[in-house]
């Protein structure tokens, strides 16, 4: 590698968070950084040989590792073993190949859904391994937790700087808006869009009482790049709005309705699971590092997402 230019490989580059990172890089480009966005078209990361070839072609100095087999509540409940095995394979391949090729820093992506189910709130970075995760997605959760174990192992053995971030519920353009496989906010966006067109009431799955902290993918993108450039701990860092910004699914649905200027009524399908009631995370560590970081107000972020979906619904993942 010539010069001191960073070559940053982003796995899962075409997904929700990858798109958010792209937007953040465009807003704050640096002369010493070049980004390469990998997608499943470029390599099957469960295949070690394919992963090695894709990485060798790019010759990265840094990696942002976002690629994963991901699903919402219902996708996970049906196939925990599958989610575990696929994600273990992807993570093992990406981290070991990165190390082999001399990559010093890899920033992987965990999630607040992997924390112990029985816990006190707010959850913080020290609590990841303190008990079994929620039964609905234990396969995904354990595979993600093992990234933290691998980071510790690689850093101890090879003196690398592998680390991870823990976002709360991410949303934004380029999400998976599929109702069965996607997450709650894109699901609501897709549904309100359809309900407005068909003039039907909105059916919210579950009671609407479950509570979440939502982080806009563009804000997450900006924080991700800051972690890549400046965060040096092995221990992960939670990237989230504050505890006081946690809202109910009902409130989220109301914001989505406003985002589309939808005036129809709401109904609640109580036969559908709520998933975990809450996963309130502390962002105190983030605030110690970045006391002045400003998150996009959630009403505005949701409106932008709704507008993106309206403009792109033909090509959006549904």
């Amino acid at each position: 590698m010539e010069g001191s230019k960073k070559r940053i490989l982003v796995t899962g580059g075409s997904g929700l968070v990858g798109t958010g990172i792209r937007a953040a890089v465009e807003m704050d480009p640096r002369d010493d950084e070049e980004y390469f966005y990998l997608s499943s078209k470029d390599a099957d990361l469960t295949d070690r040989q394919a992963t090695l070839e894709a990485f060798k072609k790019i010759a990265p100095t840094h990696v942002i590792h976002l690629a994963a087999k991901v699903g919402g509540l219902y996708g996970n409940m049906r196939g925990n073993l599958h989610f575990f095995r696929i994600n273990m394979a992807i993570n093992d391949n990406v981290l070991s190949i990165a190390q082999e090729l001399g990559v010093k820093k890899v920033v992987s992506c965990l999630s607040t859904c992997i924390f112990p189910d029985k816990t006190t709130y707010p959850i913080d970075e020290t609590m990841i391994h303190n008990g079994a995760p929620h039964t609905s997605n234990y396969g995904y959760s354990y595979a993600k937790r093992m990234i933290d174990v691998l980071n510790t192992g690689f850093n101890q053995h090879y003196k690398t700087q592998f680390t991870a971030v823990v976002p709360t519920n991410v949303f934004g353009p380029a999400d998976n808006f599929n109702l069965e496989e996607g997450h709650v906010l894109p699901g609501l966006v897709h549904k309100v869009y359809t309900c407005k067109k068909n003039n039907t009431p909105l059916m919210v799955w579950g009671t609407g009482k479950a509570r979440r902290q939502f982080i806009y993918s563009k804000d997450l993108g900006r924080l991700f790049i800051w972690v890549l450039r400046s965060y040096e701990e092995t221990q992960p860092i939670i990237l989230s709005v504050g505890e006081e910004d946690e809202i109910s699914i009902k409130e989220a649905a109301e914001l989505v309705a406003k985002g589309f200027d939808f005036e129809g009524g709401f109904e609640y399908d109580l036969t559908r699971s709520d998933g975990q009631y809450k996963k309130t995370a502390s962002n105190a560590k983030l605030r110690r590092y970045l006391p002045d970081f400003k998150f996009t107000p959630i009403g505005q972020a949701i409106r932008e997402t709704c507008e993106w979906f309206t403009a792109n619904h033909e090509t959006a993942r549904t």
């Binding site: 196939g79 925990n80 073993l81 391994h129 008990g131 079994a132 691998l150 192992g153 101890q156 053995h157």
Partner: protein, 314 residues
Amino acid sequence: MKVLVTGGSGLVGKAIEYVVNSEGTKDGEEWFFATSKDADLTDAKSTNDLFEKHKPTHVIHLAAKVGGLFGNLKSNLEYFQKNMAINQNVLESAHQHDVQNVVSCLSTCIFPDKTSYPINETMVHNGPPHTSNYGYSYAKRMVDVLNKGYNGDHGRNYTSVIPTNVFGPDDNFNIEVGHVLPGLIHKVYNAKHNGSSFTVWGSGKPRRQFIYSRDLARLMIWVLRNYTETDPIILSVAEEDEISIKEAAEAVVSAMDFKNPLLFDTNKSDGQYKKTADNSKLRTYLPDFKFTPFHVAIKETCDWFVANYSVARK
């Protein structure tokens, strides 16, 4: 029933072979003890070929990259990666070949470091393991996650056992990477031959429950034939049979008739102070099972080491 035993030449595998040969098998049972010569279990294709060749209906999965305290401290990453590969390959091949039951082997050393005592089967995932061997520990914990996954996704009844510190003939007696009891036996043997004193690493204060490999073998065969839960079962002597490393060293000294001084090197790490396990689940199933008395088991192991010194793993 055709039983494949992975890790067949190791401490526990040899004990199972001994019990199967000396106490007889049930009608129609066939046992094959696989070793690293038969397959490289870190390789998916090699593992699959092994299952293709032998077509087992049942598996006792013992193969692992294993080390004592000092072996683990040096390479947690390697212990994690190798054991994850072995375990995923064996369970997936078993599933693909419609194996009815796989009994894997965990360990009490994988439990949470910060915990109340005694530890029981429900506590495996309740906190990070001891830092000395977290790589090995997490890989073993993931066997339990995989068992639940194969059960949830595919209806399989794969399970696992949790022995405490195992010892016996055919152990790894290497002083650097072996476990404490074989290490003590090898050291006393050397000290006897050199006419020197015998030094125990650490303070001698940590406490362990030791289970004789041949008792463990009898229990694992019982689990294979009769235990139907997916959740693990602890296989151990009772809490009151826990002893200190100093007491274990004294038992070896007595069994080998060693007369020189016994010293302690407190510069060396002690590892975890205790890992006291609760064997009440076992006692609910087998209230009358009799463990070999500790001093008898130690004597048999020391006698085996002396008689087999030239071929013993060290």
